[in-house]
Protein backbone atom coordinates (compact mmCIF):
# COMPACT_ATOMS: atom_id res chain seq x y z
CA UNK A 1 0.00 0.00 0.00
CA UNK A 2 2.59 2.51 1.07
CA UNK A 3 5.31 1.51 -1.29
CA UNK A 4 3.47 1.29 -4.52
CA UNK A 5 5.28 2.89 -7.37
CA UNK A 6 3.35 5.81 -8.73
CA UNK A 7 2.77 6.86 -12.29
CA UNK A 8 4.97 9.86 -12.12
CA UNK A 9 8.38 9.07 -10.76
CA UNK A 10 9.46 12.40 -9.52
CA UNK A 11 12.56 11.79 -7.52
CA UNK A 12 13.22 14.12 -4.70
CA UNK A 13 16.05 16.20 -6.03
CA UNK A 14 18.72 17.43 -3.73
CA UNK A 15 18.61 20.72 -5.57
CA UNK A 16 15.37 21.59 -3.86
CA UNK A 17 15.78 24.77 -1.96
CA UNK A 18 14.01 23.63 1.14
CA UNK A 19 13.97 26.23 3.85
CA UNK A 20 14.96 24.89 7.19
CA UNK A 21 12.02 23.28 8.82
CA UNK A 22 10.62 25.01 11.83
CA UNK A 23 12.03 23.02 14.64
CA UNK A 24 10.63 23.49 18.02
CA UNK A 25 12.07 20.49 19.61
CA UNK A 26 9.72 19.27 22.23
CA UNK A 27 9.01 15.72 22.99
CA UNK A 28 5.91 15.20 25.04
CA UNK A 29 6.29 14.89 28.72
CA UNK A 30 5.33 11.40 29.83
CA UNK A 31 1.88 10.51 28.56
CA UNK A 32 0.77 14.03 27.78
CA UNK A 33 0.59 13.33 24.07
CA UNK A 34 2.21 11.74 21.06
CA UNK A 35 5.69 12.90 20.15
CA UNK A 36 6.05 13.40 16.41
CA UNK A 37 9.34 13.55 14.57
CA UNK A 38 9.40 14.50 10.90
CA UNK A 39 12.68 13.81 9.19
CA UNK A 40 13.30 16.31 6.40
CA UNK A 41 16.98 15.36 6.31
CA UNK A 42 16.90 13.81 2.85
CA UNK A 43 15.15 16.95 1.58
CA UNK A 44 17.85 19.16 2.98
CA UNK A 45 15.96 20.10 6.14
CA UNK A 46 16.14 19.20 9.77
CA UNK A 47 14.32 16.74 11.96
CA UNK A 48 11.82 18.78 13.95
CA UNK A 49 10.37 17.08 16.99
CA UNK A 50 7.05 18.21 18.35
CA UNK A 51 4.33 17.10 20.65
CA UNK A 52 0.74 16.44 19.66
CA UNK A 53 -1.04 16.91 22.96
CA UNK A 54 -3.80 14.67 24.13
CA UNK A 55 -4.79 11.42 22.47
CA UNK A 56 -4.99 12.00 18.71
CA UNK A 57 -7.37 9.58 17.05
CA UNK A 58 -4.86 8.49 14.43
CA UNK A 59 -1.43 9.13 13.00
CA UNK A 60 -2.56 11.89 10.66
CA UNK A 61 -4.33 13.68 13.50
CA UNK A 62 -1.15 13.41 15.56
CA UNK A 63 0.82 14.89 12.69
CA UNK A 64 -1.60 17.80 12.48
CA UNK A 65 -1.79 18.13 16.23
CA UNK A 66 1.95 18.57 16.29
CA UNK A 67 1.66 21.46 13.87
CA UNK A 68 2.68 19.75 10.65
CA UNK A 69 0.60 19.99 7.50
CA UNK A 70 0.25 16.76 5.60
CA UNK A 71 -1.05 16.74 2.02
CA UNK A 72 -2.87 13.74 0.72
CA UNK A 73 -2.61 12.23 -2.75
CA UNK A 74 -5.57 13.59 -4.68
CA UNK A 75 -6.72 10.34 -6.29
CA UNK A 76 -5.71 7.81 -3.71
CA UNK A 77 -8.42 6.30 -1.57
CA UNK A 78 -7.08 6.12 1.93
CA UNK A 79 -5.06 8.96 3.30
CA UNK A 80 -1.74 8.67 1.52
CA UNK A 81 0.64 11.32 2.78
CA UNK A 82 2.52 12.66 -0.23
CA UNK A 83 3.83 15.91 1.26
CA UNK A 84 4.45 17.22 4.74
CA UNK A 85 4.58 20.99 5.04
CA UNK A 86 4.52 21.11 1.27
CA UNK A 87 7.62 18.99 0.84
CA UNK A 88 8.71 17.55 -1.49
CA UNK A 89 7.16 20.10 -3.79
CA UNK A 90 7.97 18.03 -6.87
CA UNK A 91 5.70 15.16 -5.91
CA UNK A 92 2.58 15.60 -8.06
CA UNK A 93 0.39 14.27 -5.24
CA UNK A 94 -1.84 12.33 -7.61
CA UNK A 95 -1.47 8.73 -6.53
CA UNK A 96 1.02 7.06 -4.22
CA UNK A 97 4.54 8.35 -4.31
CA UNK A 98 7.38 6.39 -5.90
CA UNK A 99 8.81 3.61 -3.77
CA UNK A 100 12.15 5.33 -3.34
CA UNK A 101 10.82 8.79 -2.50
CA UNK A 102 7.89 8.67 -0.12
CA UNK A 103 6.99 9.46 3.46
CA UNK A 104 7.34 6.33 5.54
CA UNK A 105 5.64 6.06 8.88
CA UNK A 106 7.38 4.73 12.00
CA UNK A 107 6.48 4.02 15.60
CA UNK A 108 8.61 3.76 18.72
CA UNK A 109 8.58 3.76 22.48
CA UNK A 110 10.37 6.78 23.95
CA UNK A 111 14.08 6.03 23.87
CA UNK A 112 13.43 2.78 22.02
CA UNK A 113 14.01 1.95 18.38
CA UNK A 114 11.94 2.58 15.28
CA UNK A 115 9.55 -0.01 13.90
CA UNK A 116 7.95 0.36 10.49
CA UNK A 117 4.28 1.23 10.55
CA UNK A 118 2.49 -1.46 8.64
CA UNK A 119 -0.79 0.36 9.02
CA UNK A 120 -1.36 3.67 7.30
CA UNK A 121 -1.38 6.89 9.23
CA UNK A 122 -5.15 7.26 9.05
CA UNK A 123 -5.79 3.81 10.50
CA UNK A 124 -3.17 3.62 13.21
CA UNK A 125 -4.03 5.01 16.62
CA UNK A 126 -0.85 6.03 18.43
CA UNK A 127 -1.07 5.80 22.20
CA UNK A 128 -0.16 8.86 24.25
CA UNK A 129 3.42 8.65 25.37
CA UNK A 130 4.65 6.91 22.23
CA UNK A 131 6.67 8.42 19.42
CA UNK A 132 5.61 8.68 15.77
CA UNK A 133 8.20 9.24 13.07
CA UNK A 134 7.84 10.30 9.45
CA UNK A 135 10.86 9.96 7.21
CA UNK A 136 11.20 10.86 3.56
CA UNK A 137 13.14 8.56 1.28
CA UNK A 138 13.16 4.94 0.28
CA UNK A 139 11.71 3.57 3.49
CA UNK A 140 14.55 4.18 5.91
CA UNK A 141 13.67 5.13 9.49
CA UNK A 142 14.20 8.68 10.74
CA UNK A 143 17.87 9.40 11.25
CA UNK A 144 17.34 10.44 14.84
CA UNK A 145 16.56 7.84 17.46
CA UNK A 146 13.19 8.21 19.20
CA UNK A 147 13.58 10.80 21.94
CA UNK A 148 12.98 10.04 25.57
CA UNK A 149 10.17 11.90 27.22
CA UNK A 150 11.00 15.46 28.18
CA UNK A 151 11.40 16.51 31.76
CA UNK A 152 8.98 14.38 33.68
CA UNK A 153 6.15 16.33 35.09
CA UNK A 154 3.49 15.18 37.43
CA UNK A 155 1.23 12.64 35.84
CA UNK A 156 -1.69 14.29 34.18
CA UNK A 157 -4.59 12.70 32.54
CA UNK A 158 -4.58 13.34 28.84
CA UNK A 159 -7.91 15.11 29.05
CA UNK A 160 -6.48 17.85 31.12
CA UNK A 161 -3.63 18.54 28.84
CA UNK A 162 -3.95 22.22 28.65
CA UNK A 163 -1.93 25.30 29.14
CA UNK A 164 -0.06 23.76 31.95
CA UNK A 165 0.93 20.77 29.93
CA UNK A 166 2.22 22.68 27.01
CA UNK A 167 5.94 23.00 27.21
CA UNK A 168 6.96 26.44 28.20
CA UNK A 169 9.58 28.26 26.18
CA UNK A 170 12.14 27.49 28.79
CA UNK A 171 11.72 23.84 28.18
CA UNK A 172 12.23 24.07 24.51
CA UNK A 173 15.58 22.33 24.58
CA UNK A 174 14.92 19.04 26.24
CA UNK A 175 17.01 15.96 26.44
CA UNK A 176 16.82 15.22 22.78
CA UNK A 177 19.87 13.84 21.18
CA UNK A 178 20.81 14.47 17.65
CA UNK A 179 18.62 17.44 16.84
CA UNK A 180 21.12 20.04 17.82
CA UNK A 181 21.21 21.97 14.65
CA UNK A 182 17.50 21.82 14.32
CA UNK A 183 16.74 23.01 17.79
CA UNK A 184 18.92 26.03 17.37
CA UNK A 185 16.50 27.47 14.90
CA UNK A 186 13.32 29.06 15.90
CA UNK A 187 10.19 28.64 13.96
CA UNK A 188 10.28 29.94 10.49
CA UNK A 189 6.89 30.16 8.92
CA UNK A 190 5.60 26.72 8.15
CA UNK A 191 3.38 26.38 5.13
CA UNK A 192 0.14 27.91 6.27
CA UNK A 193 -2.95 25.99 5.36
CA UNK A 194 -6.54 26.26 6.45
CA UNK A 195 -6.54 22.86 8.07
CA UNK A 196 -3.40 23.54 9.99
CA UNK A 197 -4.42 26.98 11.06
CA UNK A 198 -6.03 25.80 14.22
CA UNK A 199 -3.14 23.59 15.01
CA UNK A 200 -0.36 26.06 14.48
CA UNK A 201 -1.31 29.59 15.20
CA UNK A 202 2.13 29.95 16.62
CA UNK A 203 3.76 30.12 13.26
CA UNK A 204 4.09 33.81 13.39
CA UNK A 205 4.32 34.09 17.10
CA UNK A 206 7.58 35.18 18.51
CA UNK A 207 10.27 32.97 19.80
CA UNK A 208 9.15 29.47 19.61
CA UNK A 209 6.21 29.05 21.82
CA UNK A 210 5.89 25.42 21.24
CA UNK A 211 2.25 24.70 22.05
CA UNK A 212 0.08 27.50 23.21
CA UNK A 213 -3.07 26.72 25.01
CA UNK A 214 -5.24 27.04 21.96
CA UNK A 215 -3.73 24.03 20.33
CA UNK A 216 -4.71 21.70 23.07
CA UNK A 217 -8.13 21.56 21.54
CA UNK A 218 -9.72 18.14 21.36
CA UNK A 219 -7.96 15.95 18.78
CA UNK A 220 -9.15 16.61 15.29
CA UNK A 221 -11.01 13.78 13.74
CA UNK A 222 -11.54 15.22 10.32
CA UNK A 223 -10.24 12.14 8.60
CA UNK A 224 -13.50 10.28 8.52
CA UNK A 225 -16.12 12.51 7.01
CA UNK A 226 -18.75 10.05 5.99
CA UNK A 227 -21.73 12.22 6.67
CA UNK A 228 -20.54 15.18 4.64
CA UNK A 229 -23.12 16.04 1.98
CA UNK A 230 -22.10 15.93 -1.65
CA UNK A 231 -21.73 19.52 -2.72
CA UNK A 232 -20.58 20.42 -6.22
CA UNK A 233 -18.20 23.32 -6.56
CA UNK A 234 -20.06 25.92 -8.53
CA UNK A 235 -21.43 25.42 -12.02
CA UNK A 236 -19.53 22.66 -13.82
CA UNK A 237 -19.04 24.56 -17.07
CA UNK A 238 -16.39 22.12 -18.28
CA UNK A 239 -18.62 19.14 -17.73
CA UNK A 240 -21.53 20.80 -19.53
CA UNK A 241 -19.32 21.70 -22.47
CA UNK A 242 -17.98 18.16 -22.66
CA UNK A 243 -21.47 16.65 -22.54
CA UNK A 244 -22.61 18.96 -25.33
CA UNK A 245 -19.58 18.04 -27.42
CA UNK A 246 -20.10 14.32 -26.90
CA UNK A 247 -23.78 14.60 -27.74
CA UNK A 248 -22.93 16.47 -30.93
CA UNK A 249 -20.47 13.80 -32.03
CA UNK A 250 -22.81 10.96 -31.13
CA UNK A 251 -25.74 12.46 -33.01
CA UNK A 252 -23.51 13.10 -36.02
CA UNK A 253 -22.43 9.47 -35.87
CA UNK A 254 -26.03 8.29 -35.64
CA UNK A 255 -26.95 10.44 -38.64
CA UNK A 256 -24.02 8.97 -40.56
CA UNK A 257 -25.13 5.41 -39.75
CA UNK A 258 -28.67 6.23 -40.87
CA UNK A 259 -27.40 7.69 -44.12
CA UNK A 260 -25.32 4.61 -44.76
CA UNK A 261 -28.30 2.35 -44.11
CA UNK A 262 -30.29 4.37 -46.61
CA UNK A 263 -27.52 4.04 -49.18
CA UNK A 264 -27.32 0.30 -48.63
CA UNK A 265 -31.07 -0.04 -48.76
CA UNK A 266 -31.45 1.38 -52.25
Amino acid sequence: MMLRAAVVTALAGAALAVPAAPATAAACSQDSGVTVIVDFASLGGGQPTRCAPGDPSNGIAALRGAGFTPTRAAQEPGYFVCRINGKPANDPCQRTSPADAYWSYWHARPGGSWTYGNIGGSDYDPAPGTVDGWAFGAGKPPSTPPPRASTPSAGRSPSTVGPAASPSPTRKVPTVAGTGQATARTSAAPAPSPTAAAASPDSTAAAATARPAATAAPPRSDIVTRSKPLRPNGIPLGAIAAVVLVLLLVSAAVAQVARRRREDGT
Partner: protein, 377 residues
Amino acid sequence: MAPDMSWTEPLPRALHPMAWWLWALGLATAASRTTNPLLIAVLVAVVGYVVVCRRGDAPWARAFSAYLILGLLVIALRVVFNALIGASDDGHQLFALPSVALPGWAKGIDLGGAVTAEQVLAAVYEGLRLAALICCVGAANALANPKRALRSLPPALYEIGSAVVVALTLAPQLVESVLRVRRARRLRAAPGKGLRNLRAIAMPVLEDALSRSLQLAAAMDSRGYGRSNGAPQGLRRTTSAFVLTGLLALCLGLYGLLDGTAPPLVGLPALTAGLVLSGAGLAIGGRRVRRSTYRPDPWRRAEWAVGGCGVVCAGVMLVAGSYDPLLLHPSLYPLVWPDLPLLPLMAILVGVLPAWLAPRPVRAAARRAPQLQAAAA
Protein backbone atom coordinates in the same frame (compact mmCIF):
# COMPACT_ATOMS: atom_id res chain seq x y z
CA MET B 1 -24.17 10.31 -55.13
CA ALA B 2 -24.11 12.85 -57.91
CA PRO B 3 -21.39 12.23 -60.48
CA ASP B 4 -19.96 15.74 -60.25
CA MET B 5 -19.21 15.19 -56.55
CA SER B 6 -16.22 13.11 -57.53
CA TRP B 7 -14.50 16.27 -58.73
CA THR B 8 -14.46 17.88 -55.35
CA GLU B 9 -13.65 14.81 -53.36
CA PRO B 10 -10.87 12.24 -53.84
CA LEU B 11 -11.94 8.90 -55.24
CA PRO B 12 -12.89 6.26 -52.72
CA ARG B 13 -9.95 4.07 -51.81
CA ALA B 14 -8.66 2.17 -48.84
CA LEU B 15 -6.25 4.15 -46.71
CA HIS B 16 -2.91 2.50 -45.92
CA PRO B 17 -3.57 0.33 -42.85
CA MET B 18 -0.48 1.63 -41.07
CA ALA B 19 -1.85 5.19 -41.27
CA TRP B 20 -4.95 4.10 -39.38
CA TRP B 21 -2.86 2.28 -36.80
CA LEU B 22 -0.64 5.33 -36.35
CA TRP B 23 -3.71 7.51 -35.79
CA ALA B 24 -5.25 5.04 -33.35
CA LEU B 25 -2.05 4.54 -31.38
CA GLY B 26 -1.59 8.30 -31.17
CA LEU B 27 -5.05 8.69 -29.67
CA ALA B 28 -4.39 5.73 -27.37
CA THR B 29 -1.22 7.41 -26.13
CA ALA B 30 -3.17 10.57 -25.48
CA ALA B 31 -5.83 8.60 -23.59
CA SER B 32 -3.22 6.89 -21.46
CA ARG B 33 -1.96 10.25 -20.21
CA THR B 34 -5.16 11.37 -18.56
CA THR B 35 -7.80 10.20 -16.12
CA ASN B 36 -10.01 13.21 -16.79
CA PRO B 37 -13.40 11.63 -17.58
CA LEU B 38 -14.52 14.58 -19.71
CA LEU B 39 -11.49 14.37 -21.97
CA ILE B 40 -11.81 10.61 -22.20
CA ALA B 41 -15.51 10.83 -23.08
CA VAL B 42 -14.78 13.32 -25.87
CA LEU B 43 -11.96 11.09 -27.10
CA VAL B 44 -14.15 8.00 -27.28
CA ALA B 45 -16.84 9.99 -29.11
CA VAL B 46 -14.21 11.27 -31.57
CA VAL B 47 -12.93 7.76 -32.24
CA GLY B 48 -16.44 6.43 -32.69
CA TYR B 49 -17.36 9.18 -35.12
CA VAL B 50 -14.32 8.56 -37.30
CA VAL B 51 -15.05 4.83 -37.33
CA VAL B 52 -18.64 5.41 -38.36
CA CYS B 53 -17.58 7.79 -41.13
CA ARG B 54 -14.70 5.84 -42.63
CA ARG B 55 -15.20 2.12 -42.14
CA GLY B 56 -15.80 -0.24 -45.04
CA ASP B 57 -18.16 -3.20 -45.41
CA ALA B 58 -15.69 -5.91 -44.49
CA PRO B 59 -16.59 -8.19 -41.59
CA TRP B 60 -13.86 -6.75 -39.40
CA ALA B 61 -15.36 -3.27 -39.82
CA ARG B 62 -18.14 -4.34 -37.48
CA ALA B 63 -15.69 -5.11 -34.69
CA PHE B 64 -15.93 -1.68 -33.09
CA SER B 65 -19.13 -2.24 -31.15
CA ALA B 66 -17.66 -5.38 -29.60
CA TYR B 67 -14.76 -3.27 -28.36
CA LEU B 68 -17.16 -0.71 -26.91
CA ILE B 69 -18.88 -3.48 -24.95
CA LEU B 70 -15.51 -4.81 -23.80
CA GLY B 71 -14.63 -1.32 -22.55
CA LEU B 72 -17.86 -1.11 -20.58
CA LEU B 73 -17.12 -4.52 -19.07
CA VAL B 74 -13.69 -3.33 -17.97
CA ILE B 75 -15.22 -0.33 -16.21
CA ALA B 76 -17.86 -2.52 -14.58
CA LEU B 77 -15.21 -4.98 -13.38
CA ARG B 78 -13.24 -2.19 -11.77
CA VAL B 79 -16.23 -0.61 -10.10
CA VAL B 80 -17.51 -3.90 -8.71
CA PHE B 81 -14.11 -4.91 -7.38
CA ASN B 82 -13.50 -1.50 -5.88
CA ALA B 83 -16.92 -1.41 -4.25
CA LEU B 84 -16.52 -4.91 -2.83
CA ILE B 85 -12.94 -4.93 -1.65
CA GLY B 86 -11.60 -1.43 -2.20
CA ALA B 87 -10.25 0.82 0.50
CA SER B 88 -12.91 3.26 1.63
CA ASP B 89 -11.46 5.03 4.61
CA ASP B 90 -13.05 8.34 3.91
CA GLY B 91 -15.13 10.33 1.55
CA HIS B 92 -18.83 10.73 0.88
CA GLN B 93 -20.72 7.57 1.53
CA LEU B 94 -23.10 6.53 -1.22
CA PHE B 95 -24.47 3.39 0.36
CA ALA B 96 -23.30 0.57 2.56
CA LEU B 97 -23.11 -3.04 1.53
CA PRO B 98 -23.45 -5.72 4.19
CA SER B 99 -19.96 -6.41 5.42
CA VAL B 100 -18.61 -9.95 5.34
CA ALA B 101 -15.20 -10.89 6.65
CA LEU B 102 -13.67 -13.65 4.56
CA PRO B 103 -11.74 -16.43 6.31
CA GLY B 104 -7.99 -16.42 6.69
CA TRP B 105 -7.18 -18.30 3.50
CA ALA B 106 -8.71 -15.42 1.58
CA LYS B 107 -6.39 -12.88 3.19
CA GLY B 108 -9.08 -11.97 5.70
CA ILE B 109 -10.56 -9.53 3.22
CA ASP B 110 -13.58 -7.57 4.29
CA LEU B 111 -16.17 -7.83 1.56
CA GLY B 112 -18.66 -5.02 1.31
CA GLY B 113 -18.91 -2.21 3.77
CA ALA B 114 -19.34 1.45 3.03
CA VAL B 115 -19.03 2.51 -0.61
CA THR B 116 -17.96 6.10 -1.12
CA ALA B 117 -18.45 8.35 -4.12
CA GLU B 118 -14.70 8.96 -4.35
CA GLN B 119 -13.96 5.27 -4.45
CA VAL B 120 -16.46 4.57 -7.22
CA LEU B 121 -15.29 7.60 -9.20
CA ALA B 122 -11.65 6.55 -8.89
CA ALA B 123 -12.57 3.16 -10.36
CA VAL B 124 -14.62 4.81 -13.10
CA TYR B 125 -11.83 7.25 -14.01
CA GLU B 126 -9.21 4.53 -14.27
CA GLY B 127 -11.61 2.17 -16.01
CA LEU B 128 -12.58 4.86 -18.51
CA ARG B 129 -8.96 5.35 -19.41
CA LEU B 130 -8.50 1.63 -20.05
CA ALA B 131 -11.78 1.50 -21.97
CA ALA B 132 -10.57 4.38 -24.15
CA LEU B 133 -7.38 2.46 -24.94
CA ILE B 134 -9.47 -0.55 -25.90
CA CYS B 135 -11.72 1.63 -28.10
CA CYS B 136 -8.70 3.06 -29.93
CA VAL B 137 -7.43 -0.45 -30.67
CA GLY B 138 -10.90 -1.43 -31.78
CA ALA B 139 -11.05 1.56 -34.11
CA ALA B 140 -7.81 0.53 -35.77
CA ASN B 141 -9.16 -3.00 -36.15
CA ALA B 142 -12.34 -1.71 -37.74
CA LEU B 143 -10.64 0.73 -40.10
CA ALA B 144 -7.43 -0.98 -41.20
CA ASN B 145 -7.54 -3.84 -43.67
CA PRO B 146 -5.67 -6.69 -41.92
CA LYS B 147 -4.78 -8.51 -45.13
CA ARG B 148 -3.11 -5.39 -46.45
CA ALA B 149 -1.43 -4.82 -43.10
CA LEU B 150 0.18 -8.25 -43.45
CA ARG B 151 2.34 -6.84 -46.23
CA SER B 152 4.10 -4.71 -43.68
CA LEU B 153 5.61 -7.81 -42.05
CA PRO B 154 9.40 -7.86 -42.40
CA PRO B 155 10.64 -9.96 -45.33
CA ALA B 156 12.35 -12.38 -42.97
CA LEU B 157 8.87 -13.47 -41.90
CA TYR B 158 7.85 -14.10 -45.48
CA GLU B 159 7.01 -17.79 -44.99
CA ILE B 160 5.05 -17.17 -41.80
CA GLY B 161 3.19 -14.34 -43.49
CA SER B 162 2.38 -16.60 -46.44
CA ALA B 163 1.03 -19.26 -44.10
CA VAL B 164 -1.21 -16.66 -42.46
CA VAL B 165 -2.42 -15.49 -45.87
CA VAL B 166 -3.26 -19.10 -46.72
CA ALA B 167 -5.11 -19.40 -43.42
CA LEU B 168 -7.06 -16.19 -44.01
CA THR B 169 -8.08 -17.34 -47.47
CA LEU B 170 -8.97 -20.88 -46.44
CA ALA B 171 -10.97 -20.12 -43.29
CA PRO B 172 -14.06 -18.87 -45.18
CA GLN B 173 -13.71 -21.76 -47.61
CA LEU B 174 -13.92 -24.18 -44.68
CA VAL B 175 -17.37 -22.89 -43.84
CA GLU B 176 -18.32 -23.43 -47.45
CA SER B 177 -16.87 -26.94 -47.23
CA VAL B 178 -19.02 -27.69 -44.19
CA LEU B 179 -22.11 -26.62 -46.08
CA ARG B 180 -21.17 -28.79 -49.03
CA VAL B 181 -20.68 -31.90 -46.91
CA ARG B 182 -23.97 -31.29 -45.16
CA ARG B 183 -25.78 -30.94 -48.44
CA ALA B 184 -24.24 -34.18 -49.68
CA ARG B 185 -25.33 -35.99 -46.52
CA ARG B 186 -28.83 -34.67 -46.83
CA LEU B 187 -29.03 -35.86 -50.42
CA ARG B 188 -28.05 -39.29 -49.16
CA ALA B 189 -30.82 -39.03 -46.55
CA ALA B 190 -28.36 -39.44 -43.69
CA PRO B 191 -29.80 -39.23 -40.17
CA GLY B 192 -30.31 -35.73 -38.85
CA LYS B 193 -28.56 -34.37 -35.78
CA GLY B 194 -26.40 -35.51 -32.91
CA LEU B 195 -22.76 -35.84 -32.00
CA ARG B 196 -22.23 -38.68 -34.46
CA ASN B 197 -23.57 -36.50 -37.22
CA LEU B 198 -21.21 -33.68 -36.24
CA ARG B 199 -18.30 -36.05 -36.54
CA ALA B 200 -19.54 -37.29 -39.87
CA ILE B 201 -19.41 -33.74 -41.14
CA ALA B 202 -16.18 -32.67 -39.46
CA MET B 203 -14.01 -35.53 -40.65
CA PRO B 204 -14.69 -35.14 -44.37
CA VAL B 205 -14.10 -31.41 -44.02
CA LEU B 206 -10.77 -32.05 -42.32
CA GLU B 207 -9.71 -34.61 -44.93
CA ASP B 208 -10.78 -32.20 -47.64
CA ALA B 209 -8.74 -29.38 -46.13
CA LEU B 210 -5.66 -31.55 -45.67
CA SER B 211 -5.70 -32.81 -49.22
CA ARG B 212 -6.27 -29.26 -50.36
CA SER B 213 -3.08 -28.26 -48.54
CA LEU B 214 -1.13 -30.82 -50.59
CA GLN B 215 -2.67 -29.51 -53.81
CA LEU B 216 -1.79 -25.99 -52.76
CA ALA B 217 1.81 -27.02 -52.04
CA ALA B 218 2.08 -28.71 -55.41
CA ALA B 219 0.67 -25.62 -57.12
CA MET B 220 3.11 -23.37 -55.30
CA ASP B 221 6.01 -25.65 -56.13
CA SER B 222 5.11 -25.73 -59.79
CA ARG B 223 5.00 -21.94 -59.87
CA GLY B 224 8.47 -21.72 -58.44
CA TYR B 225 7.54 -20.60 -54.96
CA GLY B 226 10.27 -20.58 -52.38
CA ARG B 227 13.20 -21.07 -54.70
CA SER B 228 15.20 -18.68 -52.62
CA ASN B 229 17.34 -21.13 -50.75
CA GLY B 230 20.46 -19.66 -52.17
CA ALA B 231 21.34 -17.69 -49.07
CA PRO B 232 25.11 -17.95 -48.68
CA GLN B 233 26.40 -19.72 -45.61
CA GLY B 234 28.13 -16.59 -44.37
CA LEU B 235 24.97 -14.51 -44.49
CA ARG B 236 23.04 -17.15 -42.60
CA ARG B 237 25.70 -17.31 -39.90
CA THR B 238 25.72 -13.52 -39.51
CA THR B 239 21.94 -13.50 -39.24
CA SER B 240 21.97 -16.14 -36.54
CA ALA B 241 24.71 -14.38 -34.62
CA PHE B 242 22.82 -11.09 -34.69
CA VAL B 243 19.55 -12.70 -33.74
CA LEU B 244 20.94 -14.74 -30.86
CA THR B 245 22.97 -11.94 -29.29
CA GLY B 246 20.02 -9.63 -29.80
CA LEU B 247 17.70 -12.01 -27.96
CA LEU B 248 20.23 -12.42 -25.16
CA ALA B 249 20.52 -8.64 -24.79
CA LEU B 250 16.73 -8.30 -24.80
CA CYS B 251 16.40 -10.81 -21.97
CA LEU B 252 19.14 -9.08 -19.98
CA GLY B 253 17.50 -5.72 -20.56
CA LEU B 254 14.11 -6.95 -19.41
CA TYR B 255 15.65 -8.41 -16.30
CA GLY B 256 17.43 -5.14 -15.62
CA LEU B 257 14.21 -3.18 -15.94
CA LEU B 258 12.36 -5.50 -13.56
CA ASP B 259 15.05 -5.79 -10.92
CA GLY B 260 15.60 -2.56 -9.08
CA THR B 261 19.08 -3.52 -7.87
CA ALA B 262 20.58 -4.45 -11.24
CA PRO B 263 23.38 -2.20 -12.49
CA PRO B 264 21.98 0.55 -14.71
CA LEU B 265 23.85 -0.71 -17.78
CA VAL B 266 21.78 -3.90 -17.71
CA GLY B 267 18.48 -2.08 -18.08
CA LEU B 268 17.61 0.26 -20.88
CA PRO B 269 20.96 0.16 -22.77
CA ALA B 270 20.88 -3.62 -23.00
CA LEU B 271 17.26 -3.51 -24.13
CA THR B 272 18.06 -0.96 -26.84
CA ALA B 273 21.07 -2.95 -27.99
CA GLY B 274 18.90 -6.06 -28.11
CA LEU B 275 16.28 -4.31 -30.20
CA VAL B 276 18.88 -2.96 -32.62
CA LEU B 277 20.62 -6.32 -32.97
CA SER B 278 17.37 -8.23 -33.46
CA GLY B 279 16.19 -5.69 -35.98
CA ALA B 280 19.48 -5.98 -37.86
CA GLY B 281 19.19 -9.76 -37.78
CA LEU B 282 15.68 -9.56 -39.22
CA ALA B 283 16.81 -7.11 -41.90
CA ILE B 284 19.80 -9.23 -42.95
CA GLY B 285 17.74 -12.42 -42.81
CA GLY B 286 15.17 -10.78 -45.05
CA ARG B 287 17.73 -10.22 -47.78
CA ARG B 288 17.45 -13.85 -48.84
CA VAL B 289 13.86 -13.18 -49.87
CA ARG B 290 13.33 -11.21 -53.03
CA ARG B 291 9.73 -10.51 -53.81
CA SER B 292 7.73 -8.05 -55.77
CA THR B 293 4.53 -6.50 -54.51
CA TYR B 294 1.33 -6.80 -56.44
CA ARG B 295 -0.63 -3.55 -56.28
CA PRO B 296 1.41 -1.84 -53.58
CA ASP B 297 -0.42 0.38 -51.11
CA PRO B 298 0.54 3.98 -51.74
CA TRP B 299 1.46 6.38 -48.97
CA ARG B 300 0.09 9.71 -50.12
CA ARG B 301 -1.00 12.99 -48.59
CA ALA B 302 -4.07 11.49 -46.93
CA GLU B 303 -1.89 8.92 -45.17
CA TRP B 304 0.45 11.64 -43.92
CA ALA B 305 -2.51 13.69 -42.74
CA VAL B 306 -4.26 10.87 -40.86
CA GLY B 307 -1.08 9.59 -39.25
CA GLY B 308 -0.08 13.16 -38.45
CA CYS B 309 -3.34 13.78 -36.58
CA GLY B 310 -2.53 10.90 -34.26
CA VAL B 311 1.02 12.06 -33.68
CA VAL B 312 -0.04 15.67 -33.02
CA CYS B 313 -2.73 14.55 -30.59
CA ALA B 314 -0.30 12.39 -28.62
CA GLY B 315 2.44 15.03 -28.68
CA VAL B 316 0.27 17.89 -27.42
CA MET B 317 -1.16 15.69 -24.70
CA LEU B 318 2.30 14.68 -23.50
CA VAL B 319 3.40 18.31 -23.38
CA ALA B 320 0.22 19.46 -21.65
CA GLY B 321 0.58 16.68 -19.09
CA SER B 322 4.12 17.62 -18.23
CA TYR B 323 3.09 21.25 -17.66
CA ASP B 324 0.24 20.66 -15.31
CA PRO B 325 -0.62 17.10 -14.34
CA LEU B 326 -3.56 18.30 -12.24
CA LEU B 327 -5.45 19.32 -15.37
CA LEU B 328 -5.27 15.82 -16.75
CA HIS B 329 -5.86 14.09 -13.41
CA PRO B 330 -8.80 15.67 -11.62
CA SER B 331 -8.72 15.60 -7.86
CA LEU B 332 -10.93 13.20 -5.94
CA TYR B 333 -9.82 14.27 -2.48
CA PRO B 334 -11.36 16.82 -2.23
CA LEU B 335 -14.10 15.81 -4.62
CA VAL B 336 -14.51 18.43 -7.34
CA TRP B 337 -16.01 18.63 -10.80
CA PRO B 338 -13.33 17.84 -13.36
CA ASP B 339 -12.30 20.74 -15.55
CA LEU B 340 -12.22 20.64 -19.32
CA PRO B 341 -8.74 22.02 -20.10
CA LEU B 342 -8.62 23.74 -23.46
CA LEU B 343 -5.27 22.61 -24.88
CA PRO B 344 -5.80 18.86 -24.33
CA LEU B 345 -9.34 19.22 -25.64
CA MET B 346 -8.02 20.79 -28.84
CA ALA B 347 -5.47 17.98 -29.12
CA ILE B 348 -8.23 15.40 -28.91
CA LEU B 349 -10.39 17.25 -31.41
CA VAL B 350 -7.51 17.10 -33.89
CA GLY B 351 -8.18 13.37 -33.81
CA VAL B 352 -11.59 13.82 -35.45
CA LEU B 353 -10.13 15.38 -38.61
CA PRO B 354 -9.53 12.00 -40.35
CA ALA B 355 -13.30 11.77 -40.67
CA TRP B 356 -12.84 14.25 -43.53
CA LEU B 357 -9.12 13.95 -44.35
CA ALA B 358 -9.24 10.25 -45.15
CA PRO B 359 -10.73 9.24 -48.49
CA ARG B 360 -14.08 7.48 -48.44
CA PRO B 361 -13.76 3.72 -48.18
CA VAL B 362 -14.62 1.58 -51.18
CA ARG B 363 -18.03 0.14 -50.45
CA ALA B 364 -19.82 -2.53 -52.38
CA ALA B 365 -23.25 -1.04 -51.66
CA ALA B 366 -22.26 2.46 -52.71
CA ARG B 367 -20.72 1.11 -55.88
CA ARG B 368 -23.83 -0.87 -56.67
CA ALA B 369 -26.23 1.99 -56.03
CA PRO B 370 -25.51 4.11 -59.15
CA GLN B 371 -25.77 1.01 -61.34
CA LEU B 372 -29.11 0.18 -59.82
CA GLN B 373 -30.30 3.70 -60.36
CA ALA B 374 -29.11 3.54 -63.93
CA ALA B 375 -30.93 0.26 -64.42
CA ALA B 376 -34.10 1.69 -62.95
CA ALA B 377 -33.97 4.73 -65.19
